[in-house]
């Protein structure tokens, strides 16, 4: 009796305590929000296909990119890997029956849904136009859109994030099976540990800051409003104290996924396991110390700028260690280019490009020119879409047989993965050039000399959209008609492959015993 067949009623899903079912609930709901945010992205690219502002007014355009940002950041990227793959795999990978607090886990999903309903309500009532960053005093004193609804929605979904982080931390500390020592944990589990620390310690700052915005709007007072004696820069400090670590909430799990995908496809131990662990924790910790690089031109002191710039350069070191170690793992390996590996390699390349352009932006002098241009937009889309979304999809493919007990169509999956890589680069690479030439972000029209680059970008978006829709098709087909998967179709290492596909409700018949480190592949 697998977890999928253990109860068929709607009630058995909506009141489940099983981490695997909760993972499915999350997967369905974040996919919904992904396409909702994707529609907004499509509208943005459609508007920018021509230099004139002909599709929508400036105001509608503002609301569209705000909605795109809010939905993609808080309702897709942040919960994406931790709440789906993390929920599903974490207990399996450490040999546990469930997470430490199963009811809290379900409660987190309900918080996510309630937060999502607020955001949808905001959309239906006319949207919000502040940008996903809610900068004050615009968001508190001037905007006449539905700021309150959005802020409340994000506030609620923040608690979902905090509680998930707390749950994972406690799970990893207390529920590891016999022999699963800290340095025998798969890197995906380490990544979940790192990301949980960030979710738990950064999100409260966002929640409190949003609460302060709500107070300002409700009572007409001004902690952040200079007209009332407040300090708008303080808001930016608080906001980025969360929102920069949030980038690592998106990227650390991706790094964990990619480490699993690469080792299984190359059939080798990861190169420099301990350094991979240290760099995960290093990124999680350093990620808290670099937020000021979002504010180089906002009026913070020059000395603060210099310190934040240096720290931002330093955080590139652990990130580079990871890229080097993945590459070293490939060296002389017997590489199988299945769909998961194509996604993983795509991740490494795009993450590297996104990371290196991040160094341009971390340089205080260069940032003055590039700030608020399409260069920034391209940079963070390389990290978030090229990095996080590629890794998420790679992970979904890799563990699909484990999750559903079915095999997907390898040919279609490879086609979609390659199309996604090409479509992504066509969409976002021209934006680097447009940004470097000075095209500012967040305008619905632009000078005609940027027309070619924007047409290329919009054309790429069509390919990208097709590549995102394809998996929906062949995954649904596979779920119904796909070949039945064995327990370990990839002959991969890891406790999750020792459980049946799909696993029974309590994962293992007997608690597994671990005697060796992860990735114990024997290389021919």
């Amino acid at each position: 009796l697998s977890y999928l067949t253990d109860g068929n009623t709607l009630r058995s899903w909506l009141f489940t305590h099983d981490h695997k079912r909760i993972a499915i609930l999350y997967a369905v709901s974040i996919t919904f929000f992904f396409f909702l945010g994707g529609v907004a992205a499509a509208l943005i690219r459609l508007e920018l296909a021509t230099p004139a502002g002909d599709l929508m007014t400036a105001e509608t355009y503002n609301k569209t990119f705000t909605f795109h940002g809010v939905v993609m950041v808080w309702f897709f990227l942040i919960p994406s890997i931790p709440n789906t793959l993390g929920n599903f795999l974490l207990p399996l990978m450490i040999g546990a029956r469930d997470v430490a607090f199963p009811r809290l886990n379900l409660f987190s999903w309900y918080l996510y849904v309630i937060g999502g309903l607020f955001t949808i309500a905001c959309l239906l009532l006319g949207g919000v136009d502040t940008g996903w960053t809610f900068y004050t005093p615009f968001s508190t004193m001037f905007s006449n859109s539905n700021v309150m609804l959005t802020v409340v929605g994000v506030f609620i979904v923040g608690f979902s994030s905090i509680l998930t982080g707390l749950n994972f931390i406690v799970t990893i500390h207390t529920l590891r099976t016999t022999g699963m020592r800290w340095f025998r944990m798969p890197l995906f589990v380490w990544a979940m540990y790192g990301v949980s620390l960030v979710m738990m310690l950064a999100t409260p700052v966002l929640a409190m800051t949003l609460a302060l915005i709500a107070v300002e709007r409700l009572f007409g007072v001004g902690i952040f409003d200079p007209a009332l004696g407040g300090d708008p820069l303080l808001f930016q400090h608080f906001f980025w104290f969360y929102s920069h670590p949030a980038v690592y909430i998106m990227v650390l799990p991706s790094m964990g996924v990619v480490s699993e995908l690469i080792t299984a496809s190359v059939r080798r131990r990861i190169f420099g396991y301990r350094f991979m662990v240290y760099s995960i924790i290093g990124i999680a910790v350093l990620g808290f110390l670099v937020w000021g690089h979002h504010m180089f031109v906002a009026g913070q002191s020059m000395y603060a700028g210099i310190v934040f710039s240096i720290l931002s350069f330093i955080i590139a070191v652990p990130s580079a260690i990871k890229v080097f170690n993945w590459t070293a793992t490939l060296y002389k390996g017997d590489i199988a280019f299945g769909a998961p590996m194509i996604y993983a390699l795509g991740f490494v390349g795009l993450f590297m490009l996104g990371g290196l352009t991040g160094l341009f932006l971390a340089a205080t002098a260069l940032d003055v020119n590039l700030s608020d241009t399409y260069f920034v937009v391209a940079h963070f889309h390389y990290i978030m879409v090229g990095g996080a979304v590629m890794a998420y999809l790679g992970g979904i493919h890799f563990w699909w047989p484990k999750i559903t007990g079915r095999l997907y169509s390898e040919a279609w999956a490879r086609f979609a993965a390659i199309l996604m890589f090409l479509g992504f680069n066509l969409t976002f690479f021209p934006q680097f050039i447009a940004g470097a030439q000075g095209m500012p972000r967040r305008y619905h029209q632009y000078p005609p000399e940027f027309a070619l680059l924007n047409v290329l970008s919009s054309a790429g978006a069509v390919l990208l959209a097709a590549a995102y829709l394809l998996p929906i098709g062949y995954f649904l087909w596979s779920f119904r008609y796909g070949a039945v998967a064995p327990a370990n179709p990839w002959h991969a290492e890891g406790l999750e492959w020792e459980a049946a596909s799909p696993p029974p409700t309590h994962n293992f018949d007997e608690p597994p015993v671990v005697t060796d480190g992860p990735y114990a592949y024997t290389h021919p």
């Binding site: 305590h17 207990p91 546990a96 029956r97 469930d98 997470v99 430490a100 607090f101 199963p102 905090i162 707390l166 931390i169 406690v170 799970t171 500390h173 207390t174 529920l175 738990m200 310690l201 950064a202 999100t203 409260p204 700052v205 929640a207 409190m208 800051t209 302060l212 107070v215 409700l218 009572f219 007409g220 007072v221 001004g222 902690i223 009332l228 004696g229 407040g230 300090d231 303080l234 400090h237 608080f238 608690p511």
Partner: protein, 214 residues
């Protein structure tokens, strides 16, 4: 009957593991609480550095005797909470439940005294956004002080309120005989939470009542 020793909950192998998880869970939760309050303390620090004159002037409006009384009441409540855990650890001589009730009552007293302060503030019209009648050049920046004071104390008060409910529920369970000297982690983590509420106040009190009111 000792209910804890019998049944570990679903994901756990035994009750020791469950106890470890629950205790770590509470500590982790307290860490997030520190960051929630941290925003308010950081805001206080920054705005105080920006407008020292307004903050000095604002802090003269807080009620020092009542604030001191609140501090004493809350410290005393932490003491009775710790005593109740001690009583259970020593085998329970029947006073643990009443010590918890006393703790909750002291918490309630804290809220009542704070209510008295709020009422006086309302009469003096120094509640920004609700009733604010300060005039002069410092009227605008002074409201920052009051605003932070109200948000911080209200958020803290909310924690006291939650704590009172938690302590009341725990008191009922103690009376029912759920806990033994060996196994009493729900009592332990409830009092842990209460100590955090107390510690936060230890920082609120000097910042808003003591510093620079001369």
């Amino acid at each position: 009957m000792n209910r804890l020793a019998q049944l570990p909950a679903e994901p756990y192998d035994d009750t020791t593991q469950q106890e470890e998880a629950a205790t770590l869970g509470m500590w982790a939760f307290l860490a997030t609480e520190i960051l929630f309050f941290g925003v308010l303390f950081a805001g206080y620090t920054v705005l105080r550095l920006l407008r020292p004159d307004a903050f000095v002037s604002g802090s003269r409006h807080t009620d020092l005797p009542l604030g001191t009384l609140e501090t004493a009441v809350l410290l005393m409540s932490s003491f009775t909470a710790a005593l109740s855990v001690r009583d259970i650890q020593l085998g329970g001589r029947g006073v643990a439940c009443w010590l918890l009730v006393l703790t909750a009552a002291l918490g309630a007293a804290f809220l009542v005294i704070h209510g008295v302060e709020y009422r006086a503030d309302y009469r003096a019209a120094i509640i920004p956004g609700i009733r604010y009648a300060e005039v002069g050049p410092l009227a605008a920046p002074k409201q920052l002080f009051f605003l932070l004071y109200y948000i911080t104390t209200a958020f803290h008060g909310l924690h006291v309120l939650i704590g009172i409910v938690l302590l009341a529920v725990t008191a009922v369970r103690v009376q029912r005989g759920d806990y033994t000297a060996k196994s009493h982690w729900p009592l332990e983590i409830a009092t842990l939470y209460w100590h955090l509420v107390d510690i936060v106040w230890i920082f609120v009190f000097p910042l808003y009542y003591l510093v620079g009111r001369a």
